[in-house]
């Protein structure tokens, strides 16, 4: 009897401990710095992050981006319906505070304190500076509100149980950089920030392990195409891959969409490249420098 009580006690402790360790984390008001909003920087981050690639609800290039969402993403876990992140107060995120937005971006936690699905790439965004996140929210608030309600995600068992995401985060949510680089190289540091953080390049270019997290041993070494046909390329400086490209070639590709032998960008990378073309030459140079500095993998 005594043993049974002890065993029950241990199990209860384990349950409490795992519930504690996997709870959704929201940022506290104290973590919000006193930061004067910079809208131009917010727009830069918007482009670097490629938010429009998934959240755009209307393809009119002459208008400011309408971020009503609605895109269906078919995955092995089920169908995700991309949410409305326009400043509409009912269907979008117009009512979210900067703090709530930062909790979503950096911790993957919704304003009502629930885990968000990592199809929203916060496992990369968690490496962002909070000042950039504040600027991004301010920029999003300047865009047109879209009065569009989207369907909830349609996921199979057990993926619809959000508390499971807590375990996923415990294993896969890391805010430290993936690649260690000399701290005094400003260009490389900037490149790493853009690629590993807002640019979330690793989400497609790095293969995933059995937990659904990125296999950082194979960082940027290419992966199956989540959309089906083909493959997402290896972008490490292996001699057969980007090793053949000069730094200027990579920067030019991101600016123009042309490879050194004048093939063009294709597939989902077209949207990404067009977003990258809106960055400064200096930022594209930083990304190129970083891609030449990561470990070369076959």
């Amino acid at each position: 009897m005594k043993r049974l009580i002890i065993a029950a006690g241990i199990i209860a402790l384990l349950v409490v401990a795992s519930l504690y360790l996997t709870r959704p984390i929201s940022l506290s008001a104290g973590s919000l710095p006193d930061h004067p909003v910079n809208l131009a920087n917010g727009e830069l981050i918007f482009n670097a992050g490629g938010c429009a690639s998934c959240h755009l609800s209307s393809e009119d290039n002459d208008q400011p981006p309408q971020l009503g969402g609605g895109l269906e993403m078919s995955t092995p876990f089920g169908i995700f319906h991309v949410p409305n992140i326009s400043p509409d107060k009912t269907n979008g995120i117009g009512n979210w505070s900067a703090l709530q937005f930062a909790s979503a971006m950096l911790e993957g936690t919704s304003p009502d304190g629930k885990h968000l699905y990592p199809s929203f790439p916060y496992a990369s965004y968690t490496r962002m500076r909070i000042e950039d996140v504040i600027d991004l929210k301010a920029y999003l608030d300047t865009l047109p509100p879209v009065d569009q309600q989207n369907l909830p995600h349609d996921l199979g068992f057990p993926w619809q149980i959000r508390s499971g995401i807590g375990f996923w985060k415990l294993i896969n949510l890391r805010s430290e950089p993936v690649v260690s680089l000399p701290a005094d190289n400003v260009l490389l540091q900037r490149g790493r920030y853009l690629v590993e953080g807002p640019g979330h390049c690793g989400e497609c270019h790095t293969p995933r392990d059995w937990t659904g997290g990125l296999n950082t041993e194979r960082w940027l070494a290419g992966a199956p195409n989540p959309e089906g046909e083909g493959k997402v390329p290896n972008i490490t400086p292996d001699e057969d891959k980007l090793g053949e490209w000069a730094e200027a070639d990579i920067a030019y590709y991101l600016k123009s969409g042309f490879t050194p032998d004048y093939d063009t960008v294709g597939g989902s990378m077209v949207d990404v490249q067009e977003n990258m073309s809106r960055l400064s030459d200096e930022d594209r140079k930083a990304i190129a420098a970083y891609l030449k500095a990561v470990p070369a993998l076959k």
Binding site: G222, N225, E229, G230, K231, V232, P233, N234, K241, Y252, S256, G257, F258, D261, Y262, D263, T264, V265, G266, G267, S268, M269, V270, D271, Q273
Partner: protein, 148 residues
Amino acid sequence: MTKTIAALLVTSLFLSTAVLAADDVIEQRQDLMEHTGDAAKVVGDMLKEKEPFDAAAAMAALEVWKNTATEVGDLFPVGSETGHDTEAKSTIWSDREGFDQRIDDFSNAVDEAIAANPTSLAALGEAANPVFKTCKGCHENYRVEKDD
């Protein structure tokens, strides 16, 4: 019995010519795309100021694109979906209308570029950039991206 064998032989002959034809057409379109890219390099190197501006060479490149626009649509017949490491995506056949629209976009942009008859580097940029956009426009949804 001999009839059956004869019939089989004839059928296999037909099949092999069909396969050969598919191979041919895939190679043809791959060559066409190579030449199109070579022409893009001529224009691109000028725009990058790697090579000096040469109006005649630029016009020759635009004419290569014109030829591509005329020929490319016929090089994706039903039956040429696979083989020869083709990068053609299944959407070409499942959304033929959209694919043909992209070719029209390309063709129109090339016509405008030729009509503009660019005689300066700036004019070449203005004429060629809308064409470049249509290259990506088609490769976005109708080409399979491979790691090579």
